[in-house]
Amino acid sequence: MTGLLQRLGHAALGYFRRLGRGNLFLLQTLASLPGMLLRPVLVIRQMWSVGVLTIVIIVVSGLFVGMVMGLQGYNTLVDFGAEESLGVLVALSLVRELGPVVAALLFAGRAGSALTAEIGLMKATEQLSGMEMMAVDPVQRVIAPRFLAAFLSMPLLAAIFSAVGVFGGYLVGVGLLGVDDGAFWSQMQDKVDFYDDVMNGVIKSIVFGFVVGWIALYEGYDTVPTAEGVSQATTRTVVHSALVVLGLDFVLTALMFGG
């Protein structure tokens, strides 16, 4: 019994210690961001590997999700003779929920895991220590540009996901199932509000970009510098990011649409 309590206490202490280190790491990263204004090239280079290289998976997934939405939505709406509202259904689902959330989950799987593995390996091969000994702050030089790139890329990727998704819904609804073209777009235009729907989705994706970037980079930076440590950190990035994105999605939805 005492042993169990001891282990529990030890695990709790370790958890809070890690949480504390994570918060300090975030503060250090945020403090380094103004310096990025002087070196935009570093951020642009990272936006390529974090953002641009994620576009393919975002576009393909967005298209399929939109097409499925079109099919499922049509089958339900047609029972009520409301199939012309398909555009609204697809667009609202995507810009409010699926766009930010699914794009964030894909982003964590593609870019987040890559960031963790890259930073973790840099730590394991003493590249981060080497920078420190060259009087170069690795948080400023390595972490901050990647964090900013993740933060900026996420809303753009979510927007691409939603746009392609709507197109997917259009292909299935209008092209395949015969929903009226004009009704599809005009109802969407009428019912989807820029501030209440689109901007709230954008806010979600900004928050998700922030947390996924933070988790991915911290997991890499705090990894045990061994092959096993890097592999565990990469797994943790994907699992923690997914859980945090889904949890935060509920909180943000409750705050923005709840009342």
Partner: protein
């Protein structure tokens, strides 16, 4: 009287409950090559990290180039580090840029020199380590010895006052080892630097060292000029320098009597 470049007094450092250094004193004089030797796991690399301010001691003082390292603020520590170079055991080259850019890296980060000046400077450093022809190669195209020579060129890129070498000879073939021994010795003399070489390659390190510290069990076991140490009477020093398998450092890890272990008792985890 000449002040030491590194002066360590009553240094204590622990990892968890394990004491790594239990009150060591050490002086490294300017212009010398000082070898710090000892068995694996004695904390030689840890000592370099304490000198470089990457770790904080439990107590004691670490003065480097006149500054008390543990009490320095981050900007002051970074200013001090610009005056030191460090050669990591793995080389620690940045793997996403080529050899030339690796050597240019600290110069680009800390100076506003023009591109052509940086180019000349980098080529000079690479020439000094014999790898000017490898400037365009990526780190994954280099052998272990070449990686360390590139890392050495990078470590001296800003003309530091002191260079710390972490196990520079470990895992090297005889030719690479000979090249590194020659480079460390010649660069130290030609550039007027102070060198601290952490190693357990006794012969190579002794051959270039002006002074040697032997560390074990958290203490300085012996120190002196290499010739004096080879003639030392201490059993421990003789065992370490001559590589005897048994002696004051026992062959067997502490364990209960062998007979008891074989004939009874529960199996140990």
């Amino acid at each position: 009287m000449t002040q030491p470049v590194v002066q360590i007094r009553d240094l204590r450092f622990a990892r968890g409950t394990r004491m790594i250094f239990d009150g060591i004193d050490l002086d490294i004089m300017p212009g010398t090559v000082t070898a710090i030797m000892g068995p694996s796991g004695t904390g030689k690399t840890t000592l370099l990290k304490l000198i470089g301010g990457q770790l904080q001691p439990l107590s004691g003082s670490v003065r480097v180039l006149g500054e008390d390292v543990p009490s320095l603020s981050r900007p002051a520590l970074y200013r001090l580090r610009k005056r030191m170079g460090m050669l990591f055991q793995s080389g620690a080259l940045l793997t996403d840029i080529n050899v030339f850019e690796n050597v240019a890296y600290p110069v680009r980060e800390h100076t506003k020199l023009s591109g052509s000046l940086i180019r000349n400077l980098v080529l000079m450093k690479l020439e000094a380590v014999g790898l000017r022809g490898a400037a365009g190669l990526m780190p994954n195209e280099l052998s272990g010895g070449m990686s360390r020579r590139v890392a050495l060129a990078r470590a001296i890129a800003l003309d530091p006052t002191m260079v710390l070498y972490d196990e520079p000879f470990a895992g090297q073939d005889p030719i690479s080892m000979g090249v590194l021994v020659k480079l460390i010795s010649e660069l130290n003399r030609a550039l007027g630097m102070t060198s601290v070489v952490v190693s357990h390659d006794v012969r190579e390190a002794s051959s270039i060292a002006d002074y040697v510290y032997l560390l074990s069990d958290g203490k300085v076991m012996d120190h002196g000029k290499p010739d004096a140490l080879w003639g030392a009477r201490s059993d421990w020093t003789q065992q370490f320098l001559n590589g005897h398998p048994d002696g004051p450092v026992a062959f067997h890890y502490p364990a209960p009597p062998f007979r008891d272990d074989l004939l009874g008792g529960a199996p140990r985890a």
